[in-house]
């Protein structure tokens, strides 16, 4: 008792691994229900068309088919459209323009892959075979597949509610001040860049298994989700499946998400509806090609930006104009991503007195776009870090030095775009990262490469991120339909073991371990005596799920505060057991003590007494030991860091090899360094994938050309380097633990670091992502 080493802050081995590593994990598709039926969706092969006749007769005759349901039947179901959870207003005050978005289309399809009917059968194979037999007449319409085409005056309009295909024309910051600063600037750097569209590609395809128990009038939805409670709330209140207590949502193990499993998708709605209609549990798991076509995509911005500087190389203003592609429909957070989590980060790590951003979003005949790892913040970081790099080169000064001269140095710091950075030391991670990569030795390495006919370059990406967003009241003012607090419930059992219920939901982030580490320390018990329960709306009362790097700073803070309440109550009980005044009781390292006695009590002894309730007045103290907290963070927290990439380019082939990569991040207080490193590594590879390999590409007919692993270049083990990861620490002031979110950092800092390195190697101003060998080779050839 009492002397366990501290677990929090240590690289404790992951508690979830023994099951996952032996194949005993329980992902949604691993589960089969009695009477299981399977769904296969009939999807539009055409990007834009009016739907004519839908003939289901041949499909209905296929052996094993239980039912075929069409968009027209869905339209008659009384269920509502899929909805976006964040209201954005245009700069003229108009609300964003939202078109219809039924889960099954009956009138018109607007992107390839949009579901128009569903076949339910006794087996997966039968459902898929019969889906091929559903005949749909399509009356083709003109197509716009990129944001510039959608803006053309004669472009076809996707939604009558959105003339010009425009959803909103939004702004932030002070335009007049920025114009004035640009006029008065000693130097202005301008850049136009594309933030390439990406496909999230969680390795577990989306999966749903819906059932309806008529005797209890209750739905159960197994689903691969990052946000089970948010989904239940949406299914109940927005879609109209009835009150929440009639819906149970369960997500057990979830195989990655990166944002893409935080939304409400058509398949969830249709499978629930079909399960009730047909009286069978209905299961659907995406084929990979369906994942490519229907998982919400990420990024897809075109941006022009100007940076103004005075004669001393101090940045005086930033002016940004962005056109963002929303896809055919507004996804759950589609409107938020290019606004309040994008333009609010445009100050980067720099003290920029004047910032203005204008964001125009449009609908196109493509898959809806929503949050993908970083969600808006990688787009902002890329604009800022490309711009300062080009500016430094134009001014003929060292890019690191230019950054240093313009860093924010005092905190808290209020930017002109809504954010107040709580804490940071930007100089510290820049210095450490340059040191770790041996920047001093770079010129010698460049020479050595040159001697071998290769081009070497060094690039820096200094990112800032806003993680764990809150407080709820402020987000409500900015347009959020939901609060973004997090809940925790701690149940101490009579034996002293503990269950922790959290509304966050791991899809790879090791909550079962990191959360248990903190709780173990707080109560002086072993990590093995703490069980984390999550992902089931019948078990956990409420929560807001895992995305936006919120599970540490918001979710774990809620747990920490619930621990405070447990300790406070246990101290009162201990006072009675020790027969001492309550205010003399202390609790440390798992022991209750008092200056008034030599006797000590262990955590488990007090827990047992809380339940026997023999030794304290239950009129004063209730029996039992269980507490709940809802933590609403007073503000965002701001992880920041410096990523440095060193590339070697073969000018003959255009192949870029990453020779060294260093990431130094300030995540405040870290719970499990091994886990956090893993988060950084994963993010880095997604960022490097964006910079070098990945591109969701549509042709003029709205066909996704990169719709398989043969065409969409995922980073593989031989594409990426080893990483050198380091940390600096300034505590966040917006949560009790001092933590900053670590989940997205890697994908924010790395794209500009890689592109800046390539531009340095080639001596060019800019190259758009992905910098494929072909593009790099052309750049080399035209620079020569």
């Amino acid at each position: 008792m009492g002397n366990l080493p501290k677990a929090f802050g240590q690289s404790v081995r992951r508690k979830e691994d023994p099951r996952l590593i032996t194949g005993a994990g329980r992902y949604t598709d691993d589960q089969q229900l009695p009477q299981q039926a399977w769904a296969a969706f009939v999807r539009s092969p055409i990007a834009h068309a009016n739907i004519g006749e839908v003939d289901t007769s041949a499909a209905l005759e296929h052996p094993g088919v239980v039912g075929v349901l069409t968009g027209a039947e869905f339209a008659a179901s009384g269920l509502n459209d899929l909805a976006c959870g964040w209201m954005i207003h245009s700069r003229n005050g108009d609300p964003m323009r939202v078109g219809e978005h039924p889960a099954l289309a009956s009138q018109r399809v607007r992107y390839v892959g949009e579901p128009v009917a569903v076949v339910v059968a006794d087996s997966r194979q039968a459902a898929r075979a019969a889906a091929e037999l559903v005949m749909v007449d399509y009356d083709e319409l003109p197509v716009v597949s990129d944001v510039e085409a959608a803006a053309a005056p004669d472009a076809v309009v996707l939604h009558d509610a959105a003339p010009g295909n425009q959803c909103y024309d939004w702004e932030i910051g002070n335009r007049d001040a920025v114009r004035k600063a640009l006029d008065e600037a000693a130097h202005v750097t301008e850049i136009r860049l594309i933030n390439n569209r990406l496909v999230p590609n969680a390795m577990e395809p989306r999966a749903v298994n819906a059932s309806y128990d008529a005797s209890r009038d209750r739905y159960t939805l197994y689903v691969a989700s990052q946000n089970p409670h948010g989904l239940r709330m949406t299914l109940a209140a927005v879609i109209g499946f009835g009150p929440e207590h009639k819906i149970r949502v369960i997500s057990e193990d979830v195989g990655g998400g990166f944002g893409s499993k935080a939304f409400n998708y058509a398949e969830e709605v249709v499978c629930m509806w079909a399960a009730k209609r047909l009286g069978r549990p209905v299961k659907w798991t995406a084929e990979r090609s369906e994942s490519f076509l229907t998982d919400a995509h990420g990024r897809d911005h075109i941006t022009t930006a100007r940076l103004a500087m005075d004669a001393n190389h101090r940045i005086t203003a930033l002016d940004v104009s962005t056109h963002a592609n929303l896809g055919a429909y507004l996804s759950t957070f589609g409107s938020l991503v290019p606004t309040y989590v994008y333009a609010t980060l445009l100050s980067g790590q720099y003290d920029i007195p004047n910032i203005y951003a204008n964001v125009v979003t449009r609908y196109t005949n493509t898959t809806p776009v929503d949050a993908y790892r970083g969600a808006g913040r990688p787009e902002a970081g890329y604009v800022v870090e490309r711009l300062v790099d080009v500016a430094a080169r134009e001014l003929g000064i060292d890019p690191a030095e230019f950054r240093r001269q313009n860093f924010i140095r005092t905190f808290p710091h209020a930017t002109p775009v809504e954010m107040t950075y709580d804490s940071g030391d930007f100089q510290a991670h820049l210095d450490k990262a340059l040191d770790m990569i041996d920047a001093a030795g770079f010129e010698a390495r460049r020479e050595a490469s040159r001697a071998e006919g290769k081009l070497r370059g060094l690039g820096i990406g200094c990112y800032i991120e806003a993680a764990g967003i809150g407080p709820s009241a402020r987000l409500g003012k900015l347009g959020s339909g939901a609060g973004l607090w997090e809940s925790a419930e701690i149940r101490v059992n009579p034996t002293g073991s503990v269950e922790v219920l959290t509304g966050c939901h791991s899809h790879g982030q090791s909550h079962e371990t990191t959360y248990a580490q903190l709780v173990a320390d707080r109560f002086g018990i072993s990590v093995d005596d703490v069980e984390i329960l999550h992902g089931d709306t019948d078990v956990v009362q409420f929560g807001m799920g895992t995305y936006g790097s919120r599970s540490g700073p918001v979710g774990l803070s809620a747990i920490d505060m619930a621990c405070d309440k447990i300790v406070a109550k246990a101290e009162k009980i201990a006072a009675h057991l020790l027969n001492v005044p309550a205010d003399t009781v202390t609790f440390e390292d798992g022991e209750f003590a008092s200056e008034a006695t030599n006797e000590r009590l262990g955590f488990a002894e007090v827990a047992l007494n809380a339940y026997t309730a023999h030794h304290f007045p239950t009129t004063e103290i209730e029996p039992g030991l269980k507490e709940t907290t809802f933590f609403d963070p007073p503000d965002f927290n701001f992880p920041a860091g410096t990523h440095v990439c060193e590339v070697e380019v073969d000018p003959a082939t255009g192949v870029v090899r990453i020779a060294r990569f260093v990431a130094v991040d300030d995540f405040g207080v870290i719970g499990n360094p091994m886990v956090v490193e893993g988060q950084v590594h994963g993010g880095l590879v997604q960022g490097i994938g964006q910079a070098l390999l990945e591109q969701a590409r549509y042709d003029d007919y709205g066909q996704l050309l990169s719709g398989s692993y043969m065409d969409y270049c995922m980073p593989r083990a031989d594409d990426v380097p080893d990483f050198d990861v380091g940390f600096t620490e300034t505590r966040s002031t917006t949560n009790p633990l001092g933590m900053k979110g670590c989940g997205e950092a890697g994908s924010i800092g790395s794209p500009p670091a890689v592109i800046n390195a390539i531009c340095d190697a080639l001596g060019i101003r800019h190259i758009d992502m992905p910098a494929t060998p072909e593009k790099v080779w052309r750049a080399v050839t035209s620079a020569a």
């Binding site: 590593i21 194949g23 390795m203 590594h681 880095l684 398989s708 995922m714």
Partner: protein, 159 residues
């Protein structure tokens, strides 16, 4: 269409099943035999999540017809662990935090076994090329490479 009767061996156990001629081994493992440890990431041979050993050779079970396994020996993730303990490869993955969401992990563990059975002391480049067929979206591969190196050491010098 009549089903095919197949007799094979899975993880050292004689197994009989009936399948359609076009059914993949992956489908039969997961849906007929309730061995769900083997995962589907693509169904087209591009991601390695479904990796199993067939007579010791690494194959994508999504590309093997179930009927083809007749008379062969299949090893899946469920057959890697030794008794109640973890295989040294699994222990190395665990100690190096080489998994996050875990969906790619069964395939990677099987692929690692195939590599180390063949080449007990691979260098980093060999490791990276060998596992290039296994997509992992979570880990960035760094810790997987570390785990494989660690596993090679453990197998060479059992504790």
């Amino acid at each position: 269409m009549s089903k095919l009767h197949v007799e094979t061996s899975i993880n050292g156990e004689a197994v009989e099943f009936l399948c359609e001629p076009q059914q993949s081994l992956l489908e039969v493992l997961r849906e007929e035999l309730d061995r769900t440890g083997t995962k589907e990431g693509c169904g087209t041979g591009d991601c390695g999540a479904c990796s199993v050993l067939m007579d010791g050779r690494l194959v994508c079970s999504c590309l093997v017809l179930a009927a083809e396994t007749s008379g062969h020996e299949i090893t899946t993730i469920e057959g890697i662990a030794q008794g109640d303990g973890l295989h040294p490869i699994q222990q190395a993955y665990l100690d190096n935090a080489a998994l996050q969401c875990g969906i790619c992990t069964p395939g990677l563990v099987v692929a690692t076994k195939a590599l180390l059975d063949k080449n007990p002391n691979p260098d980093e480049e060999t490791i990276r090329y060998w596992i290039a067929g296994n997509l992992c979206r979570c880990t960035g591969y760094d810790k997987i490479v570390r785990a494989i190196q660690d596993a090679a050491g453990r197998l060479a010098h059992p504790a």
